[in-house]
Amino acid sequence: MTIKERKDGSKLVVSVEGRIDTATSPELAEYFQSHLAGVKELELDLEQVNYVSSAGLRTILLAQKTMDKQGKMVVSHVCKEIMETFELTCFTDILTII
């Protein structure tokens, strides 16, 4: 998994590439914990992500909880399989998927 970021004023676009699973989630969680200060708008771009396990769901939920306190968050370019996981777990109710 690799994490790329692009800043646009107070907006942060985070593009993840690869799998967000048990092995890689801690790195993404750590990234969110240390890079969201002062961010008003977060876009999590999943275009290059082909797999999200429950560990990945938990990490995305943590980012959503953080952004709920300080601004807003959208999740973009979700593939069919990951969308199915979001739907099964009702993450579609709590995430803003564009």
């Binding site: 699973d21 048990t22 092995a23 797999y51 396990s53 429950s54 560990a55 769901l57 938990r58 939920l61 943590l62 959503q64 909880k65 709920d68 399989e81 996981t85 099964l88 777990t89 009702c90 109710d93 709590i94």
Partner: protein, 133 residues
């Protein structure tokens, strides 16, 4: 049934899962089945690796068979008794601030397989899943 043992460690999850995924591919399972079984097996085996023997170590035995477009996998460990089916489902309708971080993996597993059964026999956790494709 094909049968193998792997040290139950999180960094060996691929070694546990890959033989089954390869066999599914050989049996022309569709992309959706491959994705779902990758997810199901990761969730179950990560649980074994993280909790069954902690803080010690042990092996997980994996048996599987594909017959008539149906996969059966049996996951056996000699760790602490753990019946994943006893745990209640997470509250998926809770507002985001109340969403708990646990229980999602097992919830996904239960919803992505056709059948799941747990037995505790002779100090072993025996979990059997079936998936048609």
């Amino acid at each position: 049934m094909i049968n193998y043992k792997v040290n139950a460690k999180v960094d060996l999850i691929d070694e546990m899962i890959n033989p089954i995924i390869s066999s599914l591919e050989e049996n022309k399972a569709d992309h959706k089945t491959l994705y779902q079984m990758n997810l199901v097996l990761e969730e179950l085996l990560v649980n074994v690796a993280n909790y069954a023997y902690a803080p010690n170590e042990g092996d997980v035995e994996i048996c599987y068979e594909i017959k008539n477009k149906e996969l059966e996998v049996v996951i056996i460990d000699k760790g602490k008794p753990f019946n994943p089916l006893e745990h209640s489902d997470p509250d998926l309708k809770a507002p985001v601030e109340d969403r708990k971080i646990g229980g999602l993996g097992i919830y996904l597993v239960k919803n992505l397989v056709d059948d799941i059964q747990y037995q505790r026999v002779e100090n072993k956790n025996i979990l059997k899943i079936n998936k048609k494709f």
